[in-house]
Symmetry: D2
Amino acid sequence: MIITVKKGYRIEHVADILKKISDLGGKAEVVNGHEQITISILGKTEKIQVTEFQSFAQIEYVFRVSKPFKLAEKRDQLQHSTVRVKGVEFSSENFIIMAGPCSVESEDQTLRIARAVKKAGANVLRGGVFKPRSSPYSFQGLGLEGLKILALAAKETGMPIISEAMSERDLNMMMDYVDIIQIGARNMQNFSFLKVLGTTNKPVLLKRGPSATIEEWLMSAEYILSGGNSQVMLCERGIRSFDSQYSRNVLDLGAVPILKSLTHLPVIVDPSHGTGYRNLVAPMALAGMASGADAIIVEVHDRPHEALSDGPQALLPSDFSELMVKVRKLATVMDRKLIAESVKPVAS
Amino acid sequence: MIITVKKGYRIEHVADILKKISDLGGKAEVVNGHEQITISILGKTEKIQVTEFQSFAQIEYVFRVSKPFKLAEKRDQLQHSTVRVKGVEFSSENFIIMAGPCSVESEDQTLRIARAVKKAGANVLRGGVFKPRSSPYSFQGLGLEGLKILALAAKETGMPIISEAMSERDLNMMMDYVDIIQIGARNMQNFSFLKVLGTTNKPVLLKRGPSATIEEWLMSAEYILSGGNSQVMLCERGIRSFDSQYSRNVLDLGAVPILKSLTHLPVIVDPSHGTGYRNLVAPMALAGMASGADAIIVEVHDRPHEALSDGPQALLPSDFSELMVKVRKLATVMDRKLIAESVKPVAS
Amino acid sequence: MIITVKKGYRIEHVADILKKISDLGGKAEVVNGHEQITISILGKTEKIQVTEFQSFAQIEYVFRVSKPFKLAEKRDQLQHSTVRVKGVEFSSENFIIMAGPCSVESEDQTLRIARAVKKAGANVLRGGVFKPRSSPYSFQGLGLEGLKILALAAKETGMPIISEAMSERDLNMMMDYVDIIQIGARNMQNFSFLKVLGTTNKPVLLKRGPSATIEEWLMSAEYILSGGNSQVMLCERGIRSFDSQYSRNVLDLGAVPILKSLTHLPVIVDPSHGTGYRNLVAPMALAGMASGADAIIVEVHDRPHEALSDGPQALLPSDFSELMVKVRKLATVMDRKLIAESVKPVAS
Amino acid sequence: MIITVKKGYRIEHVADILKKISDLGGKAEVVNGHEQITISILGKTEKIQVTEFQSFAQIEYVFRVSKPFKLAEKRDQLQHSTVRVKGVEFSSENFIIMAGPCSVESEDQTLRIARAVKKAGANVLRGGVFKPRSSPYSFQGLGLEGLKILALAAKETGMPIISEAMSERDLNMMMDYVDIIQIGARNMQNFSFLKVLGTTNKPVLLKRGPSATIEEWLMSAEYILSGGNSQVMLCERGIRSFDSQYSRNVLDLGAVPILKSLTHLPVIVDPSHGTGYRNLVAPMALAGMASGADAIIVEVHDRPHEALSDGPQALLPSDFSELMVKVRKLATVMDRKLIAESVKPVAS
């Protein structure tokens, strides 16, 4: 961390700053230039915030040099974490496909869709039972009943399950039924909940908040990691922009190579929420893969008119199968392995 | 709600749409124009989402005409709710000033600042004990110890207390100590928590999320209102923009007259978080008042260098007293009453 | 400007950087710390861009310390430029009101509205004759015919005229008719045109681009100033945000105190384009004034249904008169002088 | 276009609205529902703006149903325009690569880079001679001298030239030297200039403004098309977001499939300006191609430290060659043809 002091400073003001650095546990090195004093803070500066110094009138600028996310940060460019869930490995060598309905609506609906996505090559089944809806009057999810349906689908298809938790209460209910806990965009900075997640041993897929910076997102991952849970994955799901006429969000695929250079955690793309419209999902799934993502998570529904949530963005099973054909070709270009048992045809 | 059907439609597709409307409990009225079919949905459409229809390929557009926030919506332009807290009335006739430190740091610090803001004319004391920090390594608040300090300050100064809750656990702890529960920007769409807040009888100040639309914000208020708690106030605290070089957020004061025209709930402005820098706080507090707000909430600290959070945006007690001089003058221009007992000079 | 070099650097790489600084005309001062090398660039760094160094792999960070807008920058907090136009002084002591129709539509319409705003207390008449419209099929303005109408209105009311130029061709036509050249938001970074404006001696009101940062805006002013034209004023007119349901733009009033602290140029607020809806204009005009602006520019139309552009945001003359009553009261609170001859009642 | 009238309307207000529609050349169809009046406007509504009606107090909502960009709009999903430039065809079947330095700096630099990109497989040479720089003190381009250098490079390599024009003056100078006129993001809504471009017969690459909506962008294309120039191509180059710490812009690749469904014009991606950092360019070039773009435009420099503009985002010739290897493989997956003579190895 580097501090520059305004011209015309007084020695006692510099002494105040040095005292503050010492109080915060830092070690200061003062550089007395011709026109300007520069103070470098050495040591474990990730626990020192830039804002600690902003109230000193004599300070001109404070710059952070080291990254504030020590556990999420890559130590070298070859460091990549692997998250393993019932035989599915999220890593920088594989390409994993998660698919399923937005909401679990009934046993019949969930099993139908689970079979279809499994057959087309999906590795993990997604399905929401606790739904974050903008309106209190919208369908809020089936809760425990939905979890039991997901367990049936897991048993039949052999796929691990990913589903969203919105609170500690949901989480407790889900522990026996769900393999990956999804944290939605609106809870990305629900810090109390992130602390609870840090104490579990479940893999967590942390979606990016609709206006979260890359650094804020990594700091939220840091909350979970610093609690002791090392199985965190990051999911880009679209950011909020000034234009929502033709797309619900702007899928920020540039975040993929940025994250791959900053962190060792797996990076996932959600082209369904990232766009909000069916016809955009397949192009953006492929684009996400080409940008370097380790996995995609896609919504599929065989009767979108009847879907209780997000029907417009659901791929039909036939669209999903077509997408999988291109995914297989693109995997070769990108040097990624698809998981074999999933992609070989299953007898219907 | 109005639906337009694409040219070249087939009758059976229109029949599908009419069935969906009926399934959702709506009443359809079909208008057969020369070139286009238009369907109006009548009845209680606030429970019907625009998205329910987006998966019908034959539908061109779906427009909502009525507002989806029935309880928060103004029935007529003269409807204004009043929230009363220990003799302090948030209403469209008064102008209320809430002030205090960002964080409760110690008994001495809190009492010093509480006395100073009381003397200058504040009506409600603010102070955080559960702190939403981007970094897990930053100061997280004093918790219960902080609540006890706030209770002491309330007793000595007679001011009611506002403080932030981040979880149900915090909320339970706060019920005996705090008069207004603040919900921070990052929890505005923590729907599980909003539902819990709906079951309490405490006034809630709901801050706007950093990228929440006006409608999403009112829908979050609707979560609390529909749970049975009618004492909700809305607080504009700055939105995220493309430029954070000179201001942490963009304080969206246009939201004030918009909200005053849409909802009967009191509207409050936070110029401290809305800007992030001390020198911008007073101009934006006055601008907030001129835009029609019912109250402001301002951070004050007498030793900002030592503040454990947000020092750069804290007014000094002397700055706050100067601001209050202008607030008094502006109150006359805006036809607002300041609460008498607070503003009369208190002997030091 | 300060450069930090990555750990594990090689001396020859530091030498490359020093050569580049020297090539750019800067003077380098190297500070060799325990863990890190820091290089300060002294001298006229406003001509050196941060980006010049970003391609050196060995450089970790480049920070600019001095401001890149030398001519627009305040040398001390008391420096305020005054722009004088036919007896109207834009300064930090006055408060100036510019008003008139969005577009000049006819002689009758313009004279009617000019008389009405003059009577209510306006100091400068606004009216567009070259219109920047998103659609090529919309009304594009009356051009020269409109300029002649403005000249008539100026002659009758004595008010100076402000009108928008979109190109050098427009500008040449306007020189004899218009007193202040307005540059619209969409041309804020039309650098070729800004250079031309720098060579004229006309006052220029430079509107902020819809997504321009404060610094980009000041750099655009710098283009005009560095060409030799010192009469530049800055006008905040709303920025683009993620929510346009109830407001066309977000009026960024925080920009007013920021600009007043960074630059000596007069700062103006446009609450009409800043919101886009009539009912928001008066609250935001007052809020703009309370935030510290030196002037406002407001659209007024007596028959908004017939307006050829922006009818929804035009105040009626009666609304404008009511606003002026509050403006007068607020001027006292803000220690601003209104120009006497305008505000005294004119016999109708 | 559909208008809904507020409950409690009076017949004379509806009559006013009908008169306005008639004045604008539209044909109204009134639908008298139980609770609400709806008016449909039939006929050529692209010349009627939604805003024309917003000043009627009795109107509740105005919705546009048809698209306002008649010439840019696709008539059917198979309509794709082709732009031909000296044997290079921008179409939905080919994939075109434009590459070269950000700025033309010298004959030697330009020829060196031109040869390198030609050899690696580029089809069109890019190079700026009129540079839009935020600072008036930055390098502004070589102007006419640069155009002559580009002509030499074109002659030697056989590649057509694309270069940016910032004004009518630039354009006139460029007509004999340049094959495709690039309009930069900051001039996307320089309507006076767009009109001039409409009168030429040169292909135009129209970059998206940093905060332009898809519809505004297409309306700017419509300005050129409606002037008589049908050779317009659209280039996504990144939009402005709330986070610029690790990327200069957010490359909105979702815009690619959106545009391909709305318009017949070719769609191009600029991963260099879209990200601003070298290490992000190749992943985003591939992602752009996977999203369905018809071409990419990439900055290449062999001595980025010495580049007079945008060094940090320039690929080295070796990076560009590596990217081209993947582009060739991806072209097969995407069913796109690369232009044969360019991609076959050229003897060095």
